[in-house]
């Protein structure tokens, strides 16, 4: 198969990049390994904060529906249940549906693989019933199944707090939120207030000493300050943050850099969201862990820049659009976590330094 633009990942970044690119008239193909498009939006039932101006405030599930509907009206090839597993020697991408592997030639590629959740090791963490907060949210909001009856949440970032609240509202007895530091990591006051109202206890300076169970988790012992607390739980949700999904970048020869505020290792990229491989661009959480608003904006920047390089829009117009998008990105990101945008600026600076260096070496 052949296409001008090949997008890896059908979550918010991939979907938005696809619709912007197709609107510029670019022949676009989008691939996702799941059985439906939407990525993590499919279970985000909460109202999304800080969306770009061109989006109205809405839940993640509504946004996914809206973006999928928009793609339906555009000429975009959608491949669900297809996974990118590598590249051929001639540069074509290998995608499998589980039965055969299909080579895809693309002029430009956007990697929009999103983020993976970090694990946390403690004795007993491999037991059934111990899962990521994201997994619990999928079960509850996408699959309509309660992941357990009595739950403990490990971690207090915004995502963990949000899922704790949703589990409690969904009828799960949330017995506590465990934070190893002395204060909460998350800053969404609305969610924190609601958790207080529901009466979910917070355990600061606390860690899990051990989880027990024969076939699945039944009991947990906490180190709470100097005391050990015992609790009967059948669900432990690990909410230790996110990091960019990077496998395709390595296979596509993109250089990496490290920024803790963006989730650790990530590809270096330019103001056009172009990586060190000139045909590969990055969008969304794969370009650094951030808010939904910034996920959508980075996708739009990548799509506009690809339209520019394929001569679907002139340089002056692309430049103007890109500047406006970066301004909005700075505004949105600085509102939630200032360090995120500063880290992003570092990544772009490092891309520039690498480019300068390779020009010097090339002479």
């Amino acid at each position: 198969m052949k296409t001008d633009l090949f997008i890896i990942g059908g979550g918010p970044a991939g979907l938005h990049a696809a619709s912007v690119a197709a609107t510029y008239g670019i022949e676009t193909m989008i691939v996702d390994e799941s059985f439906s498009l939407g990525g993590q939006l499919r279970q985000q039932t909460q109202q999304l904060r800080n969306l770009p101006k061109s989006f109205k405030t809405q839940t993640g599930t509504a946004l996914a529906k809206q973006m999928i509907e928009k793609l339906r009206q555009l000429d975009v090839t959608k491949l669900v249940k297809h996974t990118m597993i590598g590249t051929y020697q001639d540069g074509r991408i290998g995608v499998t549906d589980g039965h055969r592997t299909i080579p895809i030639s693309a002029n430009k590629i956007i990697v929009a693989t999103g983020a993976a959740e970090e694990a946390c090791a403690f004795p007993g963490w491999t037991l059934p019933g111990v899962m990521t907060v994201g997994a619990a949210q999928i079960l509850l909001n996408r699959e309509y199944v309660r992941p357990g009856k009595n739950a403990l949440i490990l971690g207090s970032n915004n995502f963990a707090l949000q899922v704790a609240k949703q589990l409690a509202e969904g009828g799960v007895n949330v017995k506590g939120i465990i934070e190893n530091k002395e204060r909460m990591e998350g800053n969404e006051t609305e969610t924190i207030d609601q958790l207080q109202k529901i009466g979910v206890p917070l355990y600061f300076n606390s860690t899990i000493q051990r989880a027990f169970g024969r076939e699945k988790v039944e009991k947990v012992i906490l180190n709470h300050g100097h005391k050990a607390l015992e609790m009967d739980v059948d669900l432990i949700c690990i909410g230790k943050g996110l990091s960019p999904i990077l496998e395709p970048f390595e296979i596509l020869d993109c250089h990496f850099t490290y920024e803790q505020a963006l989730g650790g290792w990530l590809p270096v990229y330019s103001l056009s969201m172009q990586t060190s491989n000139p045909s590969v661009y990055v969008a969304g959480n794969a370009a650094g862990i951030t808010d939904m608003g910034a996920i959508l904006l980075t996708a739009e920047i990548a799509a506009v820049s690809i339209a520019e390089s394929l001569e679907c829009v002139n340089n002056a117009d692309a430049d103007k659009t890109r500047k406006l998008l970066w301004q909005e990105l700075e505004q949105i990101e600085s509102e939630s976590f200032k360090r995120t945008f500063q880290a992003r600026a570092n990544v772009v600076k490092r891309f520039q330094e690498e480019t300068d260096l390779s020009q010097v070496n090339g002479q």
């Binding site: 390994e33 055969r100 946390c120 090791a121 496998e247 803790q260």
Partner: protein, 108 residues
């Protein structure tokens, strides 16, 4: 965490095994992988990568930004041989297996 806590869920490599690899001179994820099989199971280090790099960082007192990622190899996700070989070639893969399998009545 104690010494017997599993770090690599697929290959079931525990903290003691990783620490002893570090004591033997391992200082990257791939060093530990070669010594212990950590990260060589079906998930290909997708889950233990950060856990192991954190342990290296603490044991050797180096910043996480100094500890590189494990080498990520193709296929990026578990893939069946038939899907890699293609429909026609998959039958030849099957026939290769059939050839190497002992035939009925073989004595070996």
């Amino acid at each position: 965490m104690d010494e017997s806590t599993i770090i690599c869920k697929c290959e079931e490599i525990n903290l003691a095994e990783i620490e002893s690899a570090i004591q033997s001179g391992a200082h990257t994820f791939d060093d530990i992988k070669r010594i212990t099989r950590c990260g060589m199971g079906p998930c290909q280090a997708k889950i233990c990568s950060s856990l192991v790099r954190e342990i290296i960082s603490q044991s050797l007192e180096v910043s996480l930004s100094e500890i590189g990622l494990p080498r990520m190899r193709m296929p990026l996700k578990p893939t069946r041989i038939a899907a890699l070989a293609g429909k026609e070639t998959s039958s030849s893969v099957v026939s290769v297996f059939a050839e190497s399998a002992p035939k009925e009545g073989d004595e070996s």
